[in-house]
C-alpha cells in the first residue's frame, strides 16, 4: 500500500486517460468485463468528445468565411449570392474528406468527393421557395480535415442564416444551440445589431451558457470601431453580458496563404482561436475529466463491496452463514430489478405512455392555435396579395411551435428519467451496502459508506442523461426541418384575376377574393394536418427510442449489480469452506486488492 501523502500528490497529477486505463486493467483482472465495458464507453467519450461550437447569425454575415478562416482552408463554400442551406460539421480527421449525413436512425453517412461539397451545402439555384426537396437531401454535411484546432474533438457547425427571429431557420438554430457547447454569433461591421438579432441573442443566451458576439468583416468597414461601441451599448441595454470580439476572415485567409504573421495579428483571430480552443475546449475537457473520475469511482465501489463481503465472511466464520443468507436475499431483489415487474420498469412504461399522449395533445393544441391565427389573417387579407408572405409566416410559425413542443418533450423526458432513476435506486438501495451493515467488524467506516451511496445516486442520473441525449441528439433539430420541408404547402388557384368592363368591377373582385380566401384556408388546413401527422409520428418514434435507451441503460446497471452480488456471494460461500491458513492468506490477498482499489479511488477522487 502506498502512503497517504504520496496519494494526494499523485491524485492531482493522474490524467483521466491513465485513470481509465488503470480502472479497465483492474476490471479485466477481476473478470468483470461488464464494468470494463462501462469504463471503455467513458474512454470513447473522452477520446472523441465532440465539442460543438455552433456558428449562427443572419444571412450573409460571413459565417462560412469564419469557419474557413478558423481552419485556414476553404471547407465551407462561400458565394456572393448563393447561401449555405445545410449545416456543415467540420471536425478532425487524418485527411481532408467529406461525407453526407442522411436522415435515418442512426443517421447514415455517405462519402462524397471533397470538391462536391458545394453541391450539397449551398442551396440550389432556381428552386422555388418552399418547394419539395429532391429524393436525397442530406440533413448535414461532415467535413474532416487535419487541423490542430480541431484535434481535441472540436466540431465547428456552420449553419444556414437565420433570417430574422421569426423564420424557420431561426427555430432550427435555436434548437441546435440548446445542444451546443458554445455559440459564436456573427454580425458584420456593416451595420449595428438589429432588433431581431438582439432578440435572437437573448434566446441563444437562455439556451446556451457560452455565447459570444463576433463582429466580422472589419477589414472592409472603416467604421467597425463605432459599430462595436454601438453594439456593446445595445447589448448593455438588453442586459446581455456577452464578450464582443472583432475579426476579419479575409485578412486571416490572406495571412494563412502568405504566411504573414503581422497580417494574422491584424485579423483579430488570435482571440477567436483562444475562445474556441481555450475557453470552450478547456471547459469541456474539465467536464469530461469529472465524468471519468465519477465512473472510475463507481466501478471501484462495486469491486470494493464485492471484496469487502468476502473479507467479512473470512474474518468471522460465524457471521459467514448470515452474510451468505443476506446476499442470497439481495440476489432475489436484484433479480426482481431485472424483471418487468420492477417498480422502475413500471414507472418507465407508464411514464412513456403518459408522455406520448401529452406530447401529442400539446402538438395538436399548438397546431389548432396556429390554424386559428392563420384563419384570422386569411380573413383579413386577400391571399392574392399576401399568400407568399403567408406561406413564409406559416412555415416559420409552425417551426417555432414544433421547437416548443420538442422542448417540452426534452424537459419531460428528463424528468421521467429522473423518476425512473429514483425508483431504480430505491429498488437497489443498499444492495451492496447491506452486508457491511450487518458485518460484526465493519471494513469501512459508516460515513464513507454514506458517501458511496450518494455518489451512486448522482452517477445514475448523469449516465441516464447521456443515454437520453443520444436518443434525441442525432443531427439536432435540422432533421425535423428537413422532414417539414418535404411537406408542400400547395399553391392556391388564384382564379380569374383579370376582369375588364366597367360595371360590377368591385363586386366581381370581392367575389373572387372570397373564393381565394376559401382556397387558402383549405390549403393551410391540409398543410397543418400533414405536419401534425408527420411530426406526431416523429415524436412517437423519438419517445420509443428514449424508452428503449432508458430500459437498456437500467437493465445494464441491474446486470452489473447482479454480477457484483453474485461475485460477492461466491466469495462468501467459498470463504465458509476454507481452512484457517488458507483463510488468512486469502484475507491478506483481499487486503492487498482493497488497498489497490483504495489507491485508485483516492486518485480518482477530486483533491
Amino acid at each position: 500500500m502506498t502512503t497517504a501523502p504520496a496519494d494526494a500528490a499523485q491524485a492531482a497529477a493522474t490524467p483521466p486517460g491513465s485513470l481509465l486505463a488503470l480502472g479497465i486493467r483492474a476490471c479485466t483482472a477481476y473478470g468483470r468485463e461488464d464494468l470494463a465495458r462501462r469504463l471503455a464507453a467513458a474512454q470513447r467519450a473522452l477520446n472523441d468528445p465532440s465539442i460543438h461550437v455552433v456558428i449562427a447569425g443572419e444571412f450573409k454575415q460571413g459565417k462560412s468565411s469564419l469557419v474557413n478562416a478558423l481552419v485556414g482552408a476553404t471547407v465551407c463554400p462561400v458565394d456572393d449570392d448563393v447561401a449555405t442551406a445545410t449545416p456543415t460539421y467540420v471536425r478532425h480527421g487524418e485527411k481532408h474528406r467529406a461525407a453526407l449525413i442522411l436522415d435515418g436512425d442512426p443517421p447514415r453517412r455517405e462519402d462524397v468527393p471533397v470538391d462536391q461539397v458545394r453541391r450539397y451545402v449551398t442551396e440550389r439555384r432556381g428552386a422555388p421557395a418552399g418547394a419539395g426537396p429532391g429524393p436525397e437531401i442530406p440533413v448535414g454535411v461532415e467535413v474532416r480535415l487535419p487541423r490542430k484546432i480541431l484535434e481535441r474533438g472540436m466540431v465547428l457547425v456552420d449553419t444556414p442564416g437565420v433570417g430574422g427571429l421569426g423564420s424557420t431557420h431561426a427555430a432550427a438554430s435555436l434548437a441546435a444551440i440548446s445542444m451546443a457547447d458554445a455559440v459564436i454569433f456573427v454580425t458584420s461591421a456593416a451595420q449595428e445589431l438589429t432588433a431581431s438579432e438582439v432578440q435572437f441573442l437573448r434566446k441563444a443566451r437562455a439556451a446556451c451558457d457560452t455565447v459570444i458576439c463576433l463582429i466580422s468583416k472589419t477589414d472592409f468597414y472603416p467604421a467597425w470601431r463605432r459599430i462595436r461601441e454601438l453594439n456593446e451599448a445595445h447589448l448593455r441595454r438588453a442586459e446581455l453580458a456577452l464578450p464582443v470580439l472583432t475579426a476579419s476572415s479575409a485578412l486571416r485567409m490572406h495571412a494563412v496563404k502568405a504566411g504573414d504573421r503581422e497580417i494574422n495579428a491584424e485579423s483579430g483571430f488570435a482571440e477567436v482561436v483562444e475562445f474556441v480552443s481555450g475557453r470552450v475546449g478547456g471547459g469541456v475537457e474539465q467536464r469530461l475529466a469529472e465524468h471519468v473520475r465519477d465512473e472510475v469511482l463507481a466501478v471501484c465501489d462495486q469491486l470494493t463491496a464485492t471484496f469487502a463481503a468476502e473479507r467479512a465472511a473470512l474474518l468471522d466464520p460465524a457471521a459467514a452463514r448470515r452474510i451468505v443468507a443476506e446476499l442470497e436475499r439481495t440476489r432475489q431483489r436484484v433479480e426482481s430489478l431485472k424483471t418487468s415487474m420492477a417498480r422502475w420498469q413500471q414507472t418507465l412504461n407508464d411514464g412513456i405512455a403518459d408522455l406520448t399522449s401529452d406530447i401529442d395533445h400539446d402538438l395538436r393544441s399548438r397546431m389548432r392555435e396556429v390554424t386559428r391565427e392563420a384563419d384570422d389573417s386569411i380573413d383579413e387579407s386577400d391571399p392574392a396579395d399576401t399568400w407568399a408572405e403567408m406561406q413564409t409566416w406559416l412555415r416559420a410559425r409552425i417551426a417555432h411551435e414544433l421547437v416548443a413542443n420538442y422542448e417540452l418533450l426534452r424537459v419531460r423526458a428528463g424528468e421521467l428519467s429522473e423518476n425512473v432513476g429514483e425508483h431504480f435506486r430505491a429498488g437497489s438501495d443498499g444492495v451492496l451496502g447491506q452486508l457491511t451493515v450487518h458485518s460484526p467488524e465493519p471494513v469501512l467506516e459508516r460515513t464513507r459508506l454514506e458517501h458511496k451511496i450518494d455518489l451512486e445516486k448522482m452517477k445514475l442520473r448523469k449516465q441516464a442523461m447521456v443515454a437520453l441525449k443520444s436518443a434525441y441528439g442525432g443531427t439536432l433539430m435540422f432533421t425535423m426541418l428537413a422532414s417539414m420541408a418535404g411537406i408542400v404547402l400547395g399553391p392556391i388557384g388564384l382564379g380569374i384575376g383579370l376582369v375588364m368592363g366597367r360595371k360590377g368591377l368591385r363586386e366581381e373582385k370581392q367575389r373572387q377574393e372570397k373564393a381565394r380566401q376559401q382556397q387558402a384556408r383549405n390549403a393551410m388546413r391540409r398543410y397543418c394536418d400533414e405536419v401534425t401527422f408527420v411530426v406526431g409520428k416523429d415524436s412517437r418514434d423519438t419517445l420509443r427510442r428514449i424508452h428503449r435507451r432508458l430500459r437498456d441503460h437500467y437493465t445494464g446497471l441491474a446486470e452489473e449489480l447482479a454480477r457484483s452480488n453474485a461475485a460477492a456471494l461466491a466469495g462468501a460461500e467459498k470463504a465458509a469452506r476454507r481452512g484457517r491458513t488458507e483463510r488468512e492468506s486469502r484475507v491478506r490477498d483481499l487486503d492487498a486488492e482493497l488497498g489497490r482499489l483504495a489507491t485508485l479511488q483516492s486518485r480518482a477522487r477530486p483533491s
Binding site: 456572393d80 442564416g161 433570417g163 421569426g166 477589414d219 472603416p222 380569374i496 383579370l498 375588364m500 368591377l505
Partner: protein, 499 residues
Amino acid sequence: MTATEPRMGEGLLDRTRLVLDEALVAYRGGRYESRLHTVRERLSAPLRVAIAGRVKAGKSTLLNALIGERLAPTDAGECTRIVTWYQDGTTYRVTLRPREGAPRQARFAREEGALEIDLGGLSHEEVADLLVEWPSQTLRTATLVDTPGVGSLRAENSRRTWDLLAPDDEDTPADAVIYLMRHAHRDDLNFLQAFHDRQVSAPNPVNAIGVLSRADEIGGGRLDTLASATRIAARMAADVNVRRLVQTVVPIAGLLAETAVTLTEAEVAHLRRVADLPARTADDLLLSADRFRERLPELGLTSIERDALLARFGLFGVRLAAALLRRKVAGTATELSEQLTERSGLRALQRTLDSLFFERREILKSRSALLAVDSVIRADPAPAIPRVAGAVEEIIASAHPFNELRVLASLRAGWVTGKPAVVAELERVIGGEGTAAHLRLQLPAEASRAELVAAASESLARWQRRAENPLTRYELSVAARVAVRSCEGVLAELHRGRR
C-alpha cells in the same frame, strides 16, 4: 375610334381633373374639401417618388446621388428619423410640420454638405414631417421622399414607421416607390419586410421598382463585385414573389454613386497618389481599411485626408478609383466621375426610372389621385352623388392605360399564363418595359418610323388572332384584347406624328 383618343395619359389627367372638380362640388364645405384640393393640385406638380426600405439600406445615400448633392445626412448608425420631402423650389427653405400646431419654417445649416435642421426645441416624435425646398434639376422632374426604415433597434424609429403602416386614410402620399433592399435570402422574412414599409404606398408592380442597394459590399470589395451584384439583382427580379411587388430590380452602389456625382478635384488628386504606387504596394495598402488609414506614411496623405477618402468612397471605391486611374481608364476628374457614375449603377437606375416612372407620370399621378377620391367616397359616402363614384369607377375600369396596368399586374401575379414567349411579348406590348413605341415593339431606339409601323401592324394582327382564337384561354384572350388596343394606340400615335 382609337385615332381620336388623345395620346396615352394626357387625356387621362384631364378626365381625372374633371372627376376631381365634380367631387369638390359634392364635398364643398365638408371636412374632405381641403384634402381633395391638395389632390387636385398634385396633378400639376412633379411626380412624387418615395424611397423606402429597411433601416440602413442606404435610402438617404441614394437620394443624395439622385439629387446630385449631399443634402440628406448619412451616417454609419441609424440616421434618418423623420419623413423628409425634397421638393424643387425657388429658394432654399425648410418647413417643419409638427404633429400638433401649424407648420413653420425651420432654421438649417449645412454640415460638410449635409443639411442640419434645427427642430426648434421639438423632439423627433413631435415632428410629423419636414419639407425641404431646394432648387435642383432632378427635383423639377420628381419630388423625392426620404423615410426612416422598418426594423430599427431604436424603438421609437420603428414605432413611427409602424404607426404609418396602417394610415387612417388610404391617400398614399407618393405616386411611385423605390424599394431599397439589401442582399437577402429569398426565404428571409426581412427581405419581404422591405415591402412592409407601406407608409408611402403599397407595393405594386405598377408603381414600384426594387433597388439592390449597397451593391459594393456584396463580394467583400473585389473589383468584379458589381458584376456579381447585377447577377443577383437579375435573380431577385425573376423571383415570383418579387415580380408581384416590383417591376424590376437594379443594383446600385449608393455611396459610390453619391461620391461620383459630387467628386472634387482635391479627391482625385489624393486618389492619384494611391494610383501612382506600384500595384503590389497599393494592393498591400488597400488590404484593409485600417491599413489604408495607418500604413505608408510616405504616401503624403494625412490621416484626416485618408479618413475622408474612406468615408466618401468606401474601401471598394478607393480600390476601384485607384485601379481606374492606374490603368488610365480615366484621366481627369470629369472622366473619373463619369466612370464611377456608370459603374455604381446610378445611370442604369436613372434610365429605369425614366422609362418606368417618368414616361408614365400622368398615369401614375391619375392613379393615386383617383385612389384618393375613391377612399374619400368610401369614408364619407353621404354627400357623394353616385355620379362621382360612377365617374371614378368608369375611368379606372375603362381607361386604356389602367387596363394595361391591370394586365401587367395580373401577368406579374401569375394570373395570366401562356407560352413563355407569348407572355413575354404581351408584357412588352402593354408597356411593361416602358411606354415608348420601340420598347413595346422590341426594336432599337433608332428604328425608323416605317419599321415601327410595320412591326406595330404585324403585332396588331397577331394579337387580334390570339384574342379571337377560341382555343385561347379566357384570361389570355382578355389580355390579348388589351394588347390589341395598345397596338392600335401605337399606330395612331405614329400616324399623328406624320401629320
